[in-house]
């Protein structure tokens, strides 16, 4: 394909008006293939050849005299320019390695701070002994009523927007402050997680629930709100509980069973009412409950009655009471159809 061919019908003026023709004529100098094509087409005798030759002559003459040989100051002048650049740039020279070092430093500081807050920051640990319970208020105002022989651990400082975490061994009744606004979009930072030993994690949004851990099984019972139970062994799928449901994990078998809880929904009453107990006998407590809640309470094992309890007894929710009692005394509380309660040892 001869690139000059399309021009064979052009007049001199046409050729001198064509950007591409001008470009090709100039490019011949450095392109041997192009030069060959040129030679072919301007072979003596052809009509178009003469117009081409004349056009090329004009184009070449318009260049004027060529540059003198040598570098013509190319290198020398750049040195001067570079010196000038250095002078003006001396205030804040841009050096890649300085930026890299700064970034590295910032990242390390960030990493150390993060690590500190995540792992080294002070933790709070609450223990209850036998026959003792305790109400703990968490940094987000959630309350945890710890049952007997239980331990609750959490980091002292809770950051806004970070997931709230507590570690539980034993029994506890949780009332978690609700943070999530849109149940279809749950942020990590809105969750509240209870780690139960190495067995499960209970992920909570805003909710009232109980966790019981002991005697070879862990039970999570949901009163209101929503929880998601994540098994650490991950063999079973996560279980999401609805209010009124209960999940029981058999630790040996690693099976998770879902049950309807036998307790009923609490009727919350306003105000933070509680009672101080100082070596108070169960008998007295039962009397107090019977009066306050108008319930009939039956005790299967009368030896329970003489046991004594220490602590602050919250009376906002009826359910709390049963829970605490059952935990402290290690009993089961069954609610009968006629609304009376039966207390039995576990």
């Amino acid at each position: 394909m001869n690139r000059f061919n399309p021009y064979s019908t052009y007049s001199l003026t046409d050729l001198l008006n064509d950007d591409t023709f001008i470009f090709l004529v100039n490019k011949r100098r450095s392109d041997p293939a192009l030069l060959d094509e040129w030679e072919q087409i301007t072979a003596a005798g052809s009509d178009s050849g003469s117009a081409f030759r004349e056009a090329a002559q004009i184009i070449e003459l318009a260049a004027g005299r060529p540059l003198p040989a040598g570098d013509n100051g190319h290198e020398k002048i750049w040195k001067n320019i570079a010196t000038e650049i250095d002078k003006t740039a001396r205030v804040t020279p841009f050096r890649w390695w300085r930026v890299a070092a700064l970034v590295l430093l910032l990242v390390s500081i960030g990493g150390i701070t993060y690590h500190y807050f995540k792992h080294i920051s002070p933790t709070v640990k609450w223990n209850t002994a036998e026959e003792q319970f305790m109400v703990v208020t968490l940094p987000d105002q959630s309350t945890v009523t710890l049952g007997a022989n239980s331990t609750l651990t959490y980091k002292k400082n809770w950051k806004n927007g970070s997931m709230r975490e507590v570690w539980l061994s034993g029994d506890a009744h949780f009332e978690v402050t609700h943070l999530n606004r849109d149940s279809s979009h749950i942020n990590e930072g809105e969750k509240f997680v209870v780690h139960v030993e190495n067995e499960m994690e209970v992920e909570v949004l805003g909710t009232v629930f109980n966790v019981r851990h002991g005697s070879g099984k862990t039970t999570v019972e949901l009163e209101s709100g929503s929880v998601e139970i994540v098994l650490k062994n991950r063999h079973e799928a996560n279980v999401r509980l609805k209010p009124g449901e209960k999940a029981e994990l058999d630790i040996a078998q690693q099976t998770l069973t879902r049950l309807l809880s036998t307790s009923r929904h609490p009727t919350p009453s306003p105000g933070d009412k509680s009672i101080e107990l100082n070596n108070t006998s169960v008998k007295e407590i039962i009397q107090m409950i019977e009066t306050t809640y108008h319930k009939n309470i039956e005790v299967a094992d009368t030896s329970l009655l003489s046991r004594r309890i220490d602590g602050t007894f919250p009376i906002c929710h009826e359910k709390d009471v049963w829970f605490i009692l059952s935990s402290i005394l290690d009993i089961n509380i069954e609610i009968k159809s006629d609304d009376s309660l039966v207390l039995q040892p576990r």
Binding site: L12, T13, L16, D19, I22, F23, N26, R53, E54, Q57, I58, I59, L61, A62, A63, G64, R65, P66, L67, P68, N72, G73, H74, K76, I77, W78, N80, I81, A82, E84, I85, T88, A89, F94
Partner: protein
């Protein structure tokens, strides 16, 4: 502007010295070649190029992106060189008008010397005719045929309107073709 030119320019605007060097290397010879049409004095030409790139560096963050880097450089270079030539009174005072800034397409001192290679008579005729063109006609055809600028670009470099450029070039071609 091609993609590569575009990238280099943006990089230079952000203060990348290497990009400026790239532009310098790419266009140095073309600028010198142009300067060499106005004067024999290589020092003046070198100084003008130096001045141009230093100015570019100092203003890099304020510069607008040109449609063509070559065009931008030629335009700026011409302004600096002419100013230096006029200030240095290389041009006689009466030659300071626009038209009279000399533009040489053949060496000023050997206009009449016919070199061995030029056995083609046509070539000699053309060369003679080029000598009869005006300075601006020569500069216009130089910018068009050697630097490959468009009519609009030439108009900007020469600070004329585009109609004036058409006239310059067509009249020059006519004279070269016919001698009239």
């Amino acid at each position: 502007m091609g993609l590569e030119d575009d990238y280099i320019w943006d990089s230079f605007k952000r203060g990348n010295e290497r990009s400026l060097k790239f532009l310098y290397d790419e266009h140095y010879e073309f600028l010198f070649h142009y300067g060499y049409k106005f004067t024999n004095d290589r020092n003046q030409i070198e100084e003008a190029i130096q001045s141009l790139f230093i100015k570019m560096w100092k203003n890099h963050s304020n510069l607008n992106k040109p449609a063509s880097i070559r065009h931008y450089l030629l335009k700026a270079f011409r302004r600096i060189l002419i100013a230096a030539l006029q200030a240095g009174s290389r041009l006689a005072s009466r030659q300071r008008s626009f038209e009279d800034i000399p533009f040489y397409l053949t060496p000023p001192h050997d206009e009449n010397i016919i070199r061995q290679e030029e056995i083609n008579e046509q070539h000699i005729v053309l060369k003679t005719r080029i000598g009869t063109l005006t300075n601006r006609q020569r500069e216009a055809i130089y910018l068009r045929f050697y630097q490959e600028l468009s009519f609009e670009e030439i108009a900007v470099v020469l600070k004329m309107n585009i109609g004036g450029v058409y006239k310059l070039i067509y009249r020059a071609i006519d004279r070269l073709r016919t001698g009239k």
